[in-house]
Symmetry: C2
Subunit: 326 residues, 2 copies
């Protein structure tokens, strides 16, 4: 049976739910890039969100909808690190026990922060173990509710509040967006955002961006069915190396997206340095792919009003130094 898909009203409801808890992140103009490309380029700075990534929005929306009985059972989630932190902080705020299953090679910062928010962290090997199976086992053993990282009605609605805010902030500046772009992993962020963008600004084209070699969504939208990546690691974009989209995100993306672009790791590092130098923001690799696509001319933005989401900033020193060396 097909799952019920969230709609615009569900994003509005999520927005009310997280109001006063999530940061209303600023929409910042990139002056020099706008000049250089004869466009108006704005970033939605979700790296300034709580836990350093947009994931807090969906996680809080999801956890706050649990029944009292479910809250007592606790939650289990699997995540490369940003959803982990989002769930951990939301659980802390709501007084819920949380176990998070994370890849052993997650950025140290993400592992540390998730533990610091009070969650129990269990690590696994990306190449040889299944995080879904580990989480299911914990769910069976402890009775915890599984909180998916993207394939969930309330998660998608929560992430959509990024798009809702961005379009409203643009309208406050009298800007009608021609393009809206976000990084794509499992598709939770762009699916949710697309519900808001298509409702409030129907003519806005929506593009997702994936790392080269991890273009499962690009291939899925082209073939008309869910396609998978052959590898689960091998790019610096740890946050968005999801193996394939799921039915809900695939369906919404099929309905609402104009296309998917890809960028290389090298292009991502250059983008991270550009954002550091020009925008004074810290972005992690996976959060930089959409900005990288614009910076490296993967899409024609001339004379267009563009909003690009910088979706997070949780990055280790070593990776950040690589970017600074570009």
């Amino acid at each position: 049976m097909d799952k019920k898909l969230p709609e615009f009203e569900d994003v509005v409801s999520a927005s009310n739910r997280i109001s006063g808890l999530a940061v209303k992140t600023p929409l910042l103009k990139c002056e020099q890039l706008s000049d250089d490309l004869s466009a108006q380029i704005y970033v939605k700075a979700e790296c300034l969100q709580r836990v350093g990534a947009f994931k807090f929005r969906g996680a809080y929306n999801r956890l706050s909808r649990l029944t009292d009985e479910e809250k007592k059972r606790g939650v289990v989630a699997y995540s490369s690190g940003n959803h982990a932190q989002g769930v951990a902080l939301s659980a802390k705020l709501l007084g819920i026990y949380a176990v998070i299953v994370m890849p052993r090679d997650s950025p140290k910062l993400k592992l540390k922060n998730t533990r610091d928010y009070g969650a129990e962290v269990i690590t696994y090997d990306r190449e040889t173990e299944s995080r879904e199976e580990i989480a299911d086992q914990i769910s069976r053993d402890k009775g915890c509710i599984v909180v998916p990282s993207f394939e969930d009605f309330y998660i998608i609605s929560g992430q959509g509040t990024v798009g809702l805010e961005a379009v409203k902030q643009a309208k406050e500046k009298d800007i009608e967006l021609d393009l809206f772009m976000t990084p794509v992993g499992g598709g939770g962020l762009i699916s949710g955002c697309s519900l808001a963008v298509k409702e409030l600004s129907p003519s806005t084209e929506i593009y997702g961006v994936e790392p080269d070699g991890f273009n499962d969504v690009q291939r899925s939208l082209e073939s008309g069915k869910i396609e998978s990546n052959s590898n689960a690691s091998g790019s610096i974009c740890d946050a968005i190396l999801t193996v394939h989209p799921e039915q809900m995100t695939y369906t919404i993306m099929s309905n609402n997206l104009t296309g998917i672009l890809t960028v290389t790791d090298e292009e991502v590092l250059v983008a991270m340095k550009y954002v550091w130098e020009k925008l004074k923001l810290v972005v992690e690799p996976g959060a930089s792919v959409a900005f990288a696509a614009i910076l490296h001319g993967k899409i024609n933005v001339k004379d267009k009003n563009v909003c690009v989401v910088l979706s997070g900033g949780n990055v280790d020193e070593g990776t950040f130094k690589k970017a600074l060396d570009c």
Copy 2:
């Protein structure tokens, strides 16, 4: 003859003048530091301002008040880099010719950006040459109007808009500030801000922060007369190594400040890394001193509502890597 000092109304006038041109930078809560210190710590993120520092505010306010005849003559300014960029961009926006006198050892990024905004850059040696004399010579030779970096009615009023915005943003969040803190070089920022803070929130205590060994303002306020630093270089805080305050900033600071604190270069680097890791913002050394003072316990903030200005983010890769290595 004493110069006329700016007042609250002049800050409001400056705010109107820069509206729509300067970024209304966000006031962001530091969640973890607030928890750790049992306080409410907010940063006013002026690193997100145009030119990457608050200096655009004062520079634009100053240049926009020039008469048409003065605009035709062009302007000359001296600066370690942030005022330089502020004047260069303001001149570009207003169609004014600009020459900027900058120390040869300014961060490369600041030299490059100032040139990129279209200004003519002349470099000098901090230890052996007088930037004032060079600027005066240019003024005599070319007829350019000298734009001081802080000792000016409109510059001080313009920088004060940081404080005006911050107090208003705090009030929008129902926060009455107990403490307001900024870095101090020549005192333009904190003087201007104090005019707004004292008017809108009279009970708020205002503290400035200087680098250890460059505490000319601290000593001036203690002795009751303008004191000088013995060195013009020797700290990583390039933006705030002003040799001494001037009459206007000294007088306003004497009237409005509760005190001045100092921090070491090492404490500054640790603060820069903290801001990178936790707040996902890029701050330069001199812009981090007030935050560093809080982070390192130089002032008791327990149970207090605190606003600290992160005044800029123009820093070279090498210095930033030093911070990441802390």
